[in-house]
C-alpha cells in the first residue's frame, strides 16, 4: 500500500524548514482533510522539529491479569521491542487510543530511542519524566504529562508496524510524519517529495508576502498575490531574495 523507501535528504530538509500549517493546506488541496493529529503537542517546542518515516506500535486497553508489572521483566515485551526495532531515522508512533491517563514511555526509553538514532517519538497517550525529556533535545510529541506506568491502561501489541490511528489520523507504516512547534502532520509517502517541494515554494512566497504586509501592504492584491505582485515576487527571487 505505502512505499516504504528512505526519505531523500532534500525532502527531509524541505520539511524541516517548513511548517505543519503549510503542509495541512497542501494536503487539503489534494483532498486529504484529516492529517493533523488532534490533542498531540511537543513536550519542548524548542526541540519539536523532525521529518521521518513512521514505525508504529499499537496499544489496546490493559487487562489486570495480563498486564502486571512482571511483564516488563521480558526484554521482548512489545514496547521494549519497538524501541529496539525502530530503524534509525524513523519516528516511533504509538497508538494509545487518545487515552492520556498513563505514560506510553519515559526517560530511559527515550534516551535509548535517541541513542539508536530515531527521529522522534509521537503518541496520542501520556508521557512520564517529561522534565528530563524536555532537556534531552529529542523531539517528543504526546497528548500530555502522565506519570503512571503504561501498564495501568495500555497493552502493547506484538504485531509491530501495522496501520494505526494516532490523534484521530490514520498512520500507515512508512508515512512521513512532520513535527514542528504546533504538532504533527501525516504525509502519505507516495506524495511526500512533491508536497515538500511545493511547501518550500509556498513558504518562500509567504515570506515575501509577509514582508510586504509588514511594510503596510493591504491584503487585497497581495494575499493571495495578483499578477503584479507575482511578477514582483519573481524578480525578488531572481535577485537572490534580498532582506530589504
Amino acid at each position: 500500500m505505502t512505499d516504504v523507501t528512505a526519505l531523500p535528504e532534500e525532502t527531509r530538509d524541505r520539511f524541516l524548514r517548513g511548517s505543519t500549517a503549510t503542509l495541512t493546506t497542501l494536503l487539503f488541496k489534494r483532498g486529504l482533510r484529516n492529517v493533523f493529529m488532534q490533542g498531540v503537542a511537543p513536550v519542548n517546542p524548542a526541540s519539536a522539529r523532525f521529518a521521518a518515516p513512521a514505525f508504529t506500535l499499537r496499544n489496546i486497553p490493559a487487562r489486570e491479569d495480563l498486564d502486571g508489572i512482571q511483564v516488563y521483566q521480558d526484554y521482548d515485551h512489545p514496547q521494549r521491542k519497538a524501541i529496539e526495532t525502530v530503524p534509525p531515522g524513523h519516528v516511533l508512533v504509538m497508538d494509545c487510543r487518545g487515552d492520556r491517563s498513563a505514560a506510553c514511555a519515559g526517560g530511559i526509553l527515550l534516551t535509548r530511542l535517541k541513542i539508536r538514532g530515531a527521529a522522534a517519538l509521537v503518541s496520542d497517550g501520556g508521557l512520564r519524566d517529561t522534565a528530563e525529556i524536555a532537556a534531552m533535545g529529542f523531539p517528543a510529541h504526546v497528548a500530555g504529562t502522565s506519570p503512571p506506568t503504561s501498564l495501568i491502561r495500555h497493552h502493547a501489541m506484538a504485531d509491530l508496524n501495522v496501520p494505526i490511528g494516532c490523534g484521530g489520523v490514520p498512520v500507515y507504516p512508512g508515512d512521513i510524519l512532520v513535527g514542528d512547534e504546533e504538532g504533527v502532520v501525516v504525509v502519505p509517502r507516495e506524495i511526500a517529495d512533491e508536497v515538500a517541494a511545493e511547501a518550500a515554494e509556498m513558504e518562500r512566497m509567504e515570506g515575501f508576502i509577509q514582508r510586504k504586509v509588514a511594510k503596510g501592504a493591504p491584503l487585497r492584491g497581495n494575499y493571495p498575490p495578483n499578477d503584479e505582485i507575482r511578477a514582483e515576487y519573481k524578480a525578488w527571487v531572481e535577485a537572490g531574495e534580498p532582506e530589504d
Binding site: G31, P61, R63, R97, H155, V162, P163, P170
Partner: protein
C-alpha cells in the same frame, strides 16, 4: 508475548450466562481482579432484544484517509468487513473496534441480516450504526453507541488482519473472549474464566432472589444482606426445598 489460549465454550456455560445480568458478571469479575470489563458508552438498539453470550470475533478500524477509503475499496469483494463476516464461525459475536468514533455508521441493515443468517450471536460496535430503524425490527442483538447515517468509509478503514486483539468501549477484547449482553450493555469475560464466573454469577443471583424474598417479607438488611450464617443455612434449606416462590415462616 504469551499467547492467549482460548477455552472452549460449552452450551451449559452459555445457558448460565444468558440467565444472569451483566451487573452480576461485573461483580464476579471484580472479585477476580478484573475491573475494566464493561464496555463504556454502548447500549442495545433494542432493550428487549439485547441478550446474547458468545465468543468474540473481531474487526479493527483505523481512521479513514480520503485517497484510500473510496467507493472502489468499499465495493471490492475482499473488502475486510465483508471477508470478516464470512470467515466468522457460527455462534460468535462480531466485535468492531471503531475507536469510539460516531460520525458514520459502522454497518447497516444488510450487513446485520447477513450476520443473522450466518448464525452470529450478536454485533457489538463502539461506534454508531446506520439503518437502525430497520435493524430494530430484526430480532438480532446489536449493541452500539448510537445512530449515524453516513456510510462506514467516511471515517473508518477496516484493517485486513481481522480477528486480532482489539479495544471496544475501553475494554480489551481478545479473540475468543466470551461477550455477554443484556439490556444494560456488554461485559467481556476472559474465556478461561467463563465457566467459573457463569456458575458463581448464577449462584449469586439465586441467593439474591432469596434475599429479595426475605426483604419483601420484612427482614432487616442487617443480618440478611449480606447474609449471616443463620440466613445462609435458611438459604440452603430453601434451595433444597426447590426454591419455593414464597417463604414459609
Amino acid at each position: 508475548m504469551a499467547e492467549i489460549t482460548v477455552t472452549p465454550f460449552s452450551d451449559a456455560t452459555r445457558d448460565r450466562l444468558l440467565a444472569v445480568s451483566t451487573a452480576t458478571l461485573t461483580s464476579q469479575l471484580f472479585k477476580r481482579g478484573l475491573r475494566r470489563t464493561f464496555m463504556t458508552g454502548l447500549a442495545p438498539i433494542r432493550a428487549d432484544c439485547a441478550r446474547f453470550a458468545g465468543p468474540a470475533f473481531t474487526l479493527r478500524f483505523v481512521p479513514a484517509r480520503e485517497d484510500i477509503d473510496t467507493f472502489e475499496l468499499l465495493n471490492a469483494d475482499d473488502y475486510p468487513q465483508r471477508a470478516a463476516i464470512d470467515a466468522m464461525p457460527e455462534g460468535h459475536v462480531m466485535v468492531m473496534d471503531c475507536r469510539g468514533e460516531m460520525e458514520c455508521g459502522a454497518a447497516g441493515d444488510i450487513f446485520v441480516r447477513r450476520l443473522q443468517v450466518r448464525g452470529a450471536a450478536a454485533l457489538v460496535v463502539d461506534g454508531a450504526m446506520r439503518d437502525t430503524p430497520e435493524i430494530a425490527g430484526m430480532d438480532f442483538p446489536v449493541h452500539c453507541k448510537g445512530a449515524a447515517a453516513p456510510f462506514v468509509i467516511l471515517s473508518h478503514h477496516a484493517v485486513p488482519d481481522f480477528n486480532q486483539v482489539v479495544a471496544c468501549g475501553g475494554v480489551a477484547v481478545y479473540p475468543g473472549d466470551i461477550l455477554v449482553g443484556d439490556g444494560e450493555g456488554v461485559v467481556v469475560v476472559p474465556s478461561h474464566l467463563a465457566e467459573e464466573v457463569a456458575e458463581a454469577a448464577w449462584e449469586q443471583e439465586r441467593m439474591e432472589r432469596f434475599i429479595q424474598l426475605k426483604v419483601s417479607a420484612g427482614a432487616t438488611l442487617v443480618g440478611t444482606y449480606p447474609p449471616s450464617e443463620a440466613v445462609l443455612a435458611e438459604y440452603r434449606a430453601w434451595v433444597e426445598a426447590g426454591e419455593p416462590a414464597t417463604l414459609s415462616r
